[in-house]
């Protein structure tokens, strides 16, 4: 269970998160939706310990990670897998080495075991045979899938997806969503995803949380969110321009 209590963060005089509260149940897929520039990625960076809040706390199974530093924080991070918005693949390595990297460096597995798990991970994301290529040589959709393979190869308990389908065509968006859904069913991890993809995310989410002006304004099942009476939520999921855009 991930519990977020009163998370507050400002950059200079610009408040980004304001007293944000959220609970992510173990084993669920929780999707955070909201406008671009609304603080979703900043929120995710707090969950993985890349940013520290001005106030509030994040608890992962009772451990307050916002207070942890160094090895104690790393011990929590070993349970994580993170898929970054742009993939964040190491461009000096092949795709195969990218997927192998956490196995070699984080888990220190033997070569044969690394090889077996990398091949399995690449096969799971439908990328057999592309391991020898560099990230620059493959398409955006393939890069996202390699990033997913790298995040999941260590069999993490909690996986964070930062807009895993941004910039992809609708077919690839569905492909990636189905892939995440399938892997979630198979591996049973807790997933926290930041996404704009409406209505596609309603297919894979157990819980949807709407982040607006630094606060979670509505949390519920996909059906409840789609039936929400909250004008901000209604406007966002219908893609209507208006005062929620701030103009």
């Amino acid at each position: 269970m991930i519990t977020v209590e009163g998370l507050t963060k400002s950059f200079g005089r610009q408040p980004v998160l304001r007293q944000l509260d959220l609970e992510v149940p173990t084993g669920s897929v929780t999707v955070i939706i909201g406008r671009s520039g609304g603080g979703k990625s900043v929120f995710l960076k707090h969950l993985v310990g890349l940013l520290h809040p001005d106030a509030g706390r994040v608890l992962v199974d009772g451990a307050e990670i916002t207070r942890l530093r160094g090895r104690a924080l790393d011990a929590v991070r070993r349970r994580y897998g993170v898929v970054f918005q742009g993939g964040a693949l190491f461009d000096s390595m092949t795709c195969w080495d990218n997927v192998a990297f956490p196995l070699r460096e984080k888990l220190r597995l033997r070569r044969a075991e690394v090889g077996k798990r990398v091949e399995t991970a690449l096969a799971q994301v439908g990328l057999e045979g592309v391991g020898g290529k560099n990230p620059a040589e493959i398409s955006g959709g393939m890069r996202k899938r390699v990033a997913i393979a790298r995040a999941l190869v260590t069999e993490p308990e909690i996986v964070f997806f930062d807009e895993p389908t941004t910039g992809l065509d609708p077919i690839l968006v569905n492909t990636i969503h189905r892939l995440i859904q399938g892997l979630h069913r198979k591996l049973g991890f807790t997933a926290v995803m930041v996404s704009h993809e409406i209505p596609e995310i309603f297919e894979i989410a157990d819980t949807v949380a709407m982040l607006h002006e630094g606060r979670i304004v509505e949390v519920g099942t996909p059906a409840a969110i789609q039936a929400s009476a909250n004008p901000v939520v209604r406007q966002f999921i219908r893609g209507e321009p208006g005062n929620a855009e701030g103009h």
Binding site: K45, V48, D74, R77, G86, A88, F90
Partner: protein
């Protein structure tokens, strides 16, 4: 709660105070970065593969520019010092004059400046791009210390390669002086090298050696720091790269003066 606005007369003082604090803050971060990097350099696990890669990146790929600048520096020194010494009838001292200039001063400084221009800038750009494309964040969330993978191998490679580059620069520079003084201007080979053996001692060589090691630390420290703390986008990387080269070059010259003043 927002602070009340300052009186107009106090605003310059407020701005001065803020900039002083930001300088102290930046210096603190700069120093802390080196301490963290040295801690990652001196404690296991050591990243041997990354270290060898950095030696190739900083040292091996700088060989050509070191050979070229070393040769022409020696040739220019040979010519100019010969012209100067001939006015006093002291051409015999060409060998030691060229050797001492290069070994004590020009070798370590010019080799460091050349490596800064070629490898230091590339180091900043590479780490900067890794920062803006979240590759450094990816290392962090894998519970792996980016200092150990990116900074420590670079600093260690700087400590190893800078003295080697300097030694090469020295040898080629002295040979360049020989080409001009002996082969072109007619000084005897025995005089050129004989007087050099008389006047150059181990202290001179050790001065150049320690200077080059300190320059290796300065350049890799500044360049990795600037890459790590890059701004946003391509413009941020470009700015960091320029700042890294300028700051490294200035620090090399300033440190060279103080080091040379203390160790004579």
């Amino acid at each position: 709660m927002t602070e009340p606005p300052l009186a107009l007369a106090l605003r310059p003082l407020d701005a001065l105070g803020r900039s002083a604090l930001s300088i102290v803050d930046a210096l603190g971060r700069f120093g802390t970065f080196l301490i963290q990097a040295l801690a990652a350099t001196l404690t296991p696990p050591f990243k041997i593969r990354a270290f060898v890669d950095r030696i190739n990146f900083i040292g091996y790929r700088s060989l050509l520019i070191i050979l070229l600048t070393g040769a022409f520096t020696g040739m220019v020194l040979g010519l100019q010092i010969y012209i100067t010494l001939s006015r006093f009838g002291s051409e015999a001292f060409l060998g030691p004059a060229v050797a001492l200039s290069i070994i004590r001063e020009l070798g370590p400084v010019l080799a460091a400046l050349m490596v800064t221009g070629r490898a230091g800038s590339a180091l900043t750009a590479e780490i900067g791009i890794m920062r803006i494309t979240e590759q450094i964040d990816a290392l962090t969330v894998m519970a792996l210390n980016p200092m150990r993978y990116l900074v420590a191998p670079s600093i260690l490679a700087g400590v190893v390669t800078f003295p080697l580059m300097t030694a090469l620069f020295d040898v080629i520079g002295i040979f360049g002086g020989y080409l001009v003084g002996v082969e072109l201007l007619g000084l005897s080979q025995g005089t050129y090298f004989g007087e050099m053996k008389t006047f150059v001692d181990l202290d001179d060589i050790m001065l150049g050696f320690w200077k080059s090691i300190s320059f290796g630390i300065i350049v890799t420290w500044v360049c990795t720091y600037k890459g790590f703390h890059v701004g946003h986008g391509a413009e941020g990387v470009a700015r960091a790269t320029t700042q890294a080269v300028v700051m490294s070059s200035v620090l090399i010259l300033v440190w060279d003066y103080f080091f040379g003043s203390v160790w004579r």
